[in-house]
């Protein structure tokens, strides 16, 4: 399971077009066995882009009905950075409940999870999983996958920003000397206690450096981060 998620992450990092991103959302939907995976973003000048598995009928319907104005998911995510489980949002208004029914009539499931991301200069994005499930199963799914989903959301956003020419993923990630040392010691086979001792820092500090390096390298976990650091030539052992 992990191995294939790494592959999806890698296709995402290699994406050069919106069609590639579309392919990634479809692969993630199949990987997680959910009904839908959607990533959309609004750039710093207010233009909207998206990739995802919602039917074109539902996307058109959403726009035609102007659901953006009443969608509790949008209210629960706008200008925030904490993910939301859809059922925990306020669906008490009649229009909101009607929208959810309409969504389900268009092939959406009853459960959703959306991660909001705030990028630079007003850019923002939403990464959503939607499916049909019982409450307890959905909570268990989120509990088990929240970290990976957060990582995927941010990798999708790095790609979106690259498309916006905010950054360039083709360049190697910028790690500070301390992060490079941490990754190098791990790549040499040291455990965290040894690496921390070598660097004369605490293990907790080392774990923070490793987590920061993991994010910059676009990796899912520490092992993957070491592999990516070696593969991209960021470190040499």
């Amino acid at each position: 399971m992990k191995a294939s998620l790494e592959q999806h992450l890698s296709s995402l990092q290699n994406a050069t077009t919106l069609e590639d991103l579309q392919g990634v959302t479809e692969a993630l939907r199949d990987h997680y066995k959910t009904s839908h995976v959607v990533y959309h973003w609004v750039n710093s000048i207010g233009e909207r882009f998206g990739a995802g598995t919602y039917s074109p009928e539902w996307v058109d319907r959403y726009l035609e009905k102007d659901y953006l104005r009443l969608d509790p998911v949008i209210f629960g995510c706008f200008q925030r950075f904490t993910p939301v489980i859809w059922k925990e949002l306020d669906w008490s208004s009649k229009p909101a409940r009607a929208m959810l029914q309409d969504a389900m009539d268009h092939g959406l499931g009853n459960q959703g999870y959306t991660i909001p991301i705030r990028g630079p200069a007003g850019q923002f994005a939403l990464f959503t999983l939607n499916t049909q499930a019982e409450d307890q199963d959905w909570h268990a799914f989120i509990d088990a996958n929240a970290r990976d989903l957060m990582i995927l959301a941010h990798e999708l956003n790095k790609k979106a920003l690259e498309f916006e020419q905010w950054g360039d993923a083709a360049t190697t990630p910028m790690l500070s000397p301390r992060e490079l040392s941490a990754m190098t010691y791990l790549a040499k086979g040291m455990n965290r206690a040894q690496a921390a001792a070598e660097m004369t820092i605490s293990e907790h500090t080392l774990r923070v450096y490793i987590e920061s390096a993991r994010h910059k390298l676009g990796a899912l976990n520490t092992t993957h981060a070491v592999a990516r650091a070696l593969a991209t030539g960021v470190i040499i052992v």
Partner: protein
């Protein structure tokens, strides 16, 4: 009760908001003597308050601020990365799983549950969003208070001397820390979790949870 409020939700709680920013002025400007900006209304705010951070606020029975802290994810602008990277070994700490915690503040009128409640709030956020670490800027003179709360920072760097001294620290909270903290706040885990859930959803707490919290 604990409230988890983004800056743009504070307008729904004017008394709580105003007393928080005034207590911050009291603590950071008057008591600790930090070079912070205090406006004509006697409120301390900085540029990070304008970035729609998430506040964890202990609201006392009279609706006033008892204590608070402020969170921002390190993938955006943070105080540590903007001003204190010389205290983090030159590392720009950056991950959606590491949040920055700043402006830890206790009201001079704080009730005895306030500091434990803030520790609980930090723990609930870490647990709910599967965070790995908090990194924060703090005044070393506050270390004793953190220790009493069971929230001792691991200091990764300090700068300056005496009143000017400032530290960057790391915090994390494991599941074992919940039981004693919950006991000191006088609520069970379900109530604590619903404080988070209802706050973020902007929904009123159901009666059950509130009555338990107030009688505990």
């Amino acid at each position: 009760m604990l409230r988890y409020l983004y800056a743009n939700d504070l307008c729904r709680f004017p008394l709580l908001r105003d007393t928080m920013f005034r207590d911050r002025a009291e603590q950071f400007s008057k008591r600790l003597g930090w070079a912070v900006t205090v406006n004509d209304a006697g409120e301390e705010r900085d540029e990070y308050d304008a970035m729609n951070p998430l506040y964890v606020i202990w609201e006392m029975a009279d609706g006033r601020h008892g204590g608070s802290m402020r969170f921002l994810p390190t993938v955006g602008q943070t105080m540590v990365n903007d001003h204190f990277s010389h205290l983090t070994g030159g590392v720009t700490i950056e991950s959606p799983l590491i949040w920055e915690c700043t402006r830890f503040c206790l009201s001079p009128n704080a009730d005895r549950r306030a500091s434990a409640a803030l520790a609980l709030g930090a723990g609930e956020l870490m647990s709910a969003f599967k965070l790995k670490h908090y990194v924060g800027v703090f005044d070393p003179r506050m270390e004793r208070i953190y220790r009493l709360m069971g929230l001792e920072p691991e200091v990764i760097g300090t700068d300056g001397e005496g009143r000017e001294k400032i530290g960057v620290g790391l915090w994390s909270m494991n599941d074992d820390a919940f039981a004693p903290t919950l006991k000191r706040v006088g609520v069970n885990r379900d109530v604590s979790r619903s404080w988070l859930r209802y706050s973020l959803a902007g929904k009123p707490m159901p009666d059950l949870g509130d009555s338990f919290a107030e009688t505990a």
